[in-house]
Amino acid sequence: MDKRAAFRSWWLPSLFALPQIILILLFFYWPAVAVLRWAFTLEPPFGGAAEFVGFANFQEVFADPLYWNSVGVSLAFALCGTLATIFIGLVLALAVDRQLPGSAPFRFLYILPYAIAGPAAGMAFRFILSPERGLMASVNATFPDFWNPAKYGSHALLLVIVVFAWKWAGYTFIFLLAGLQSVPRSLIEAAAMDGCGPIRRAVDIQIPLLAPTLFFLLVIMMTEGFVGADTYGIVARTTDGGPNHGTDVMVYRIVEEAFRGLNYSGASAQSLVLIGLIMTFTFIQFRFIERQVHYK
């Protein structure tokens, strides 16, 4: 991907790139090295130089049942959240893509939840799906304890997944609608000529042709669910990781461990595991994107 007519100078591009390179070195590479250093060392309790401890931090992390709990919670959160957002986005995109009269406003409206910050959405949903007031109270009045995220971990997990899905459904909707619009119109018309109804066309033509977009969204949303900025915000402001660690996702646990427990080494070891996970996701994504470009 080179441009033919490039300017020849070595100091000018360096100068242009310098501000960002400095920022990246300072706030990206230096911290990345620090994570490595902390993960393999322990600071003595009464000060002094950090001591190299090999994999002891990792052993400690892996021996902690609460860590495995957070892995399970994260997995459930990311998987359910991803599937829910993609499903909602897909169904809505298929509906809007038919361009029936009056569908334009819906297209505009569906994107709006994406503008809302995770923590703010979490606060609102604390009210909307609260057991004592809002929408679920009348259900609870008839069936006591039917819904109580403050008491049951599974309900709380469902609550944060709902907040996540609400916010991100508009995002998948945008990408899937863009994908649908690049499906050749002639294919759809040919199918219609052969007597296929809209549902049949969606299942047999549009969804298979959307496969690249769907896969791309799967990777993006899984990454978002595991480490996204919103994941932390949603959990922190909706359930605080509780009740009884029921919504203690991995990112939440890392931040808690580091800033409330002041265990930088343990938090760094956990960060490294998470970084490995994201790198795997990113690797898969780029392998896939490369393939997509080849097939074009």
Partner: protein
């Protein structure tokens, strides 16, 4: 398309209306709850009818959480992140795309890798860096000269600390890079033929051409900056630098106090409004930026 499909059409409208209730319903609950009195908001069943107390509740929320300062700080922070990203990314992408130097590949990969690790997973050491900015410099000096110097500079409780680490990622750079790569080679050739240097080419040709990209990047970066939660939470201890996302906690009714959720909802509505307006008004640019930065 000319095909009679009454059943599928009815289903399509049904799906779209269901989607509306699902995605816009929460906004309706927030607005109507925020406009009710304390008794109405706690009533079972919940009434979706908006009442007339919206501005009163907003006023109460504004003073309870000191939203004036917070809104200002969030606005400054979001604007700085936006301006920083839009400006620095344009420069870096220009250096990566339009020059032929051995450093090009190095710069590219250096920036590229930052896409992999979001702030959330390296938040602990990034915090440590921001709390002690000169540590690398000190280490370097003591390694080279053997002297221990004690200079101290931290970014806690400052706009620089709130924004700089958020600017240090590559999303914008790639948006510009993709765009620059679509420009025909002849453009730079013609500019050179007419005797223009690199800087002149950048200012007089590239910047005007990338106006749409800048607008797209501006919208997504403003929303991104406004919605930051974890980073301000760590960087700021001084109430003077509090952002809106941090004042959410202050809005929450206390456990044993009166559950005046109408005020809480009114407050979160105020906090939600600025990014909502940006996305609603500039939706075309927002969507374009979103699709372009990810692909």
């Amino acid at each position: 398309m000319i095909q009679r499909t009454p059943f599928a059409n009815a289903l399509t409208y049904g799906v779209m209306i269901f989607g509306f209730l699902l995605l816009i319903g929460p906004f309706i609950v927030i607005v109507s709850g925020a406009s009710q009195t304390f008794q109405q908001v706690n009533a079972i069943p919940f009434s979706f009818v908006p009442q007339d107390r919206l501005f009163e509740n907003m006023g109460a929320a504004w003073s309870r959480a000191n939203l004036g300062t917070a809104m200002l700080n969030s606005f400054v922070m979001a604007s700085l992140v936006t301006v920083g990203k839009v400006a620095l990314s344009a420069l870096t992408a220009f250096a990566i795309v339009f020059f032929r130097t051995p450093l090009k590949g190095f710069f590219f990969w250096m920036v590229f890798i930052t896409l992999m690790l979001p702030l959330e997973v390296r938040v602990v050491p990034t915090y440590a860096v921001a709390a002690d900015l000169f540590q690398p410099v000190r280490l370097l000096i003591s390694a080279v000269t053997g002297f221990e110097v004690s200079v101290d500079w931290n970014l806690l409780n400052s706009y620089a600390g709130l924004t700089l680490p958020l600017i240090a990622t590559a999303t914008g750079t790639f948006l510009y890079r993709q765009f620059y790569l679509t420009l025909p080679d002849e453009l730079a050739e013609a500019a050179r033929m007419d005797g223009s240097g690199a800087i002149r080419f950048f200012i007089d040709m590239l910047l005007p051409l990338s106006r749409t990209n800048m607008l797209a990047l501006t919208t997504i970066m403003f929303v991104y900056g406004w919605n930051q939660y974890l980073w301000p939470l760590l960087m700021v201890t001084d109430p003077q630098y509090k952002t809106t996302m941090m004042s959410l906690v202050a809005l929450l009714p206390s456990d044993n106090g009166t559950p005046d959720w109408n005020v809480t909802l009114a407050g979160s509505l105020i906090i939600m409004l600025p990014p909502l307006i940006v996305v609603a008004v500039l939706q075309r640019w927002f969507v374009r930026g979103l699709v372009a930065t990810e692909k």
